[in-house]
Amino acid sequence: MPDLAFDIAHMLAGSLVLVSFMMIYQDRLSALLNTFALQALLLAAAVGWQAYIQGASHLYASAGIALVFKAIIVPWALHKMIQRLGIHREVETVVGVVPTMLAGMGLVALSILLMLQLTETAESALAREDLAFSLSVILLGMLMMVTRRNAVSQVVGFMSLENGLILATTGAQGMPFVVEISVAFSVLIAMIVIGVFLFRIRERFDSVDTEAIEHFRGEKRS
């Protein structure tokens, strides 16, 4: 049933974009982390489904990494951390929710227009739409990184961006290094989380608000 397979893949990839939108309007850090965990779960399902329909067993490893590492371990660790820092209730958005949502819609429209036009000649419709969806997730992740000032939400924005990349790598049929790239990204994320932990941004800067640490600049010291 190639059509059903396509529909499921389509639905999973589409719901990643939907969850990206959900993340934009979360105004509590813990809710944001839960939404991120949901996105990682969907990513694991999407990658797993691709592995099944492409018959590419190495993609199961990518799906496993997404499931264990990004849907469980990282959200858990970040939950622990924001509890310890006592910031699990706050989120400061720099730009309001409505303009951000509108900008997000604009970005999704842009990426779909760009990618569908770009891949007109591609044989598989799946690859085309996957690419459009993944670019949307990437751009929404970037949007989140620029509209949030809190270091933890910036990290979540980056991880969501990276979910989009993993979706793109699995959509590109037969692309080598997919597992390696998943591992490389996991190392990257682990480093961010450990970095925030070890450097104890709270202790050093009294805040995880990156605006507060931004005034330490060579030029401004007198």
Partner: protein, 480 residues
């Protein structure tokens, strides 16, 4: 795996990194670091004489990357020598702990491994992983001092670098998607030599979008304006040997990757010409950084902006393309690496003597420390483009070629160069001449790497060896 030179430039740093991670004594590890860098450099130098292996699916050696590898391992060696003499004093002043140093030395070799891997890889996926590895290891070293500023710099570098690298990966995926119908599924579609060979058949629209992602992504790592925000902070707050390596090497590695993709784009005639985009970014970086040079108060930040300026010139030259401009770009890249790392060696010694990086607190170095002060004067005059240094020759070539091909752009270029020249001179007179002021500790670090680099720059500036000219010419032709 066989033990031919291309794999040796990878195996030596990898083994050394593992050894250094286990080595408790910092003195021993500093010298192991030097020895490993020396071995890597010898392996790289032997690439000239031994027969080159066939280009594989993962690794390859050609005329282009040999320039980068030899330069990379050479500056890696001199920076390791400088670091060995420099870092002991940092330990005495309590800026680092022995445990930090163990980590630092291991990371130094991890970084060398990452950079060498990016340079020898013939595979765009592997290249991406290698650039990421090199970035991560430098992020860790920038944060080594654990001060407010160092952590903020590392965080900023990390976030901007990660976004850049994410965009570069998306570009890489697009290239794969473009190649997949032609070269087939799997590994062959990511081998850069095969991609270039069959570039004409790839879908030009796909390549265009991919290239935009790639140049923004890897351009962030090159430090091109407007994606440069991480660069001054990372240079100013990390240990000085790392500033030298960042400016002298890591920017080049990112540039090399951009050049590889430029070759791919140029091989497809229907695709967007990569030149104008690179010319625009290069000029923007040059003029912007030159203007920023004036109001610097921190000596390392000053030279970090100067690195952005020079990367701008190099990208501009490669963007112009053609045999002469490529030759000039390549020469300027080599000269910039040697000169800028020499400057950072001097700056590191100065910061240790004076106990500060503030430009206003450093005065009269030529009187208090003649050898160091004059070394700095010569190095800064060289980087500003005074004859007889090699930088003068390469800048002269860039300017003359651009005057003959695009006079209006050449005016902008010259404006930027003059602006930067004046700014550097302005700061240099304050630092080097006048009455010495501030703390005056004896010199703790060796000046050998500084003067060695200066000698090389002058040698190339006065008389560039014939074989080197031939070699650079063939590379310039390869770049198209």
């Amino acid at each position: 795996m066989s033990f031919d030179p291309p794999s040796l430039v990878l195996i030596v740093p990898a083994v050394a990194a593992a050894m250094l991670a286990l080595m408790p004594s910092y003195r021993a590890s500093a010298w192991i670091n030097v020895a490993a860098s020396l071995l890597t450099f010898l392996a790289a130098a032997s690439l000239f004489v031994v027969e080159r292996p066939e280009a594989g699916d993962y690794l390859h050696v050609d005329d282009l990357n040999i320039v980068f590898i030899v330069l990379n391992t050479f500056v890696g060696l001199t920076a390791a020598v400088f670091s060995a003499s420099y870092i002991g004093h940092e330990l005495q002043t309590g800026r680092v702990t022995p445990a930090n140093l163990r980590f630092y030395h291991a990371m130094y070799q991890v970084m060398m491994f990452g950079m060498n891997l990016a340079l020898v890889s013939n595979n765009i996926g592997l290249m991406w992983v290698a650039v990421e590895l090199a970035t991560l290891s430098t992020v860790l070293m920038v944060g080594l001092y654990r001060t407010h500023e160092a952590l903020e710099a590392a965080w900023k570098y990390f976030i901007l670098g990660s976004v850049g690298i994410a965009l570069a990966l998306f570009g890489t995926i697009l290239i794969y998607m473009a190649a997949q119908p032609i070269l087939g599924e799997g590994l062959p579609s990511m081998v850069s030599s095969k991609l270039i060979a069959s570039a004409a058949e790839l879908d030009p629209k796909m390549l265009n979008v991919a290239f935009v992602f790639l140049i923004v992504g890897y351009g962030t790592k090159v430090g091109l304006a407007p994606f440069h925000a991480w660069l001054p902070d990372a240079h100013a707050e990390g240990p000085t040997p790392i500033s030298a390596v960042l400016s002298g090497l890591l920017l080049n590695v990112a540039l090399y990757v951009v050049l590889r993709f430029k070759m791919l784009m140029a091989a497809n005639e229907t695709a967007l010409a990569p030149g104008p985009l690179m010319v625009a970014l290069g000029l923007l970086s040059l003029v912007f950084a030159a203007a920023m040079l004036y109001r610097r108060r921190d000596i390392k930040r000053l030279f970090a902006y100067s690195s952005i300026e020079h990367m701008g010139i190099i990208v501009f030259a490669f963007g112009m393309g053609g045999a002469l401009a490529n030759f000039a770009g390549l020469l300027h890249m080599v000269m910039h690496s040697l000169t800028k790392s020499a400057i950072f060696f001097a700056v590191g010694s100065i910061a240790q003597i004076k106990g500060t990086q503030r430009l206003a607190d450093i005065r009269g170095l030529t009187q208090s420390h003649p050898l160091l002060g004059w070394g700095l004067v010569i190095a800064v005059l060289s980087i500003a483009g005074m004859p007889p240094s090699g930088v003068f020759m390469s800048e002269f070539l860039v300017v003359t070629t651009s005057f003959s091909r695009a006079p209006i752009l050449a005016l902008v270029l010259v404006f930027g160069l003059v602006l930067a020249f004046a700014a550097l001179l302005l700061h240099l007179t304050g630092v080097a001449f006048g009455e010495p002021s501030g703390e005056d500790e004896p010199l703790h670090s060796t000046l050998v790497p500084l003067w060695l680099h200066l000698a090389l720059i002058m040698l190339i500036g006065l008389h560039m060896p014939g074989p080197m000219v031939e070699w650079f010419r063939s590379v310039a032709a390869l770049l198209g």
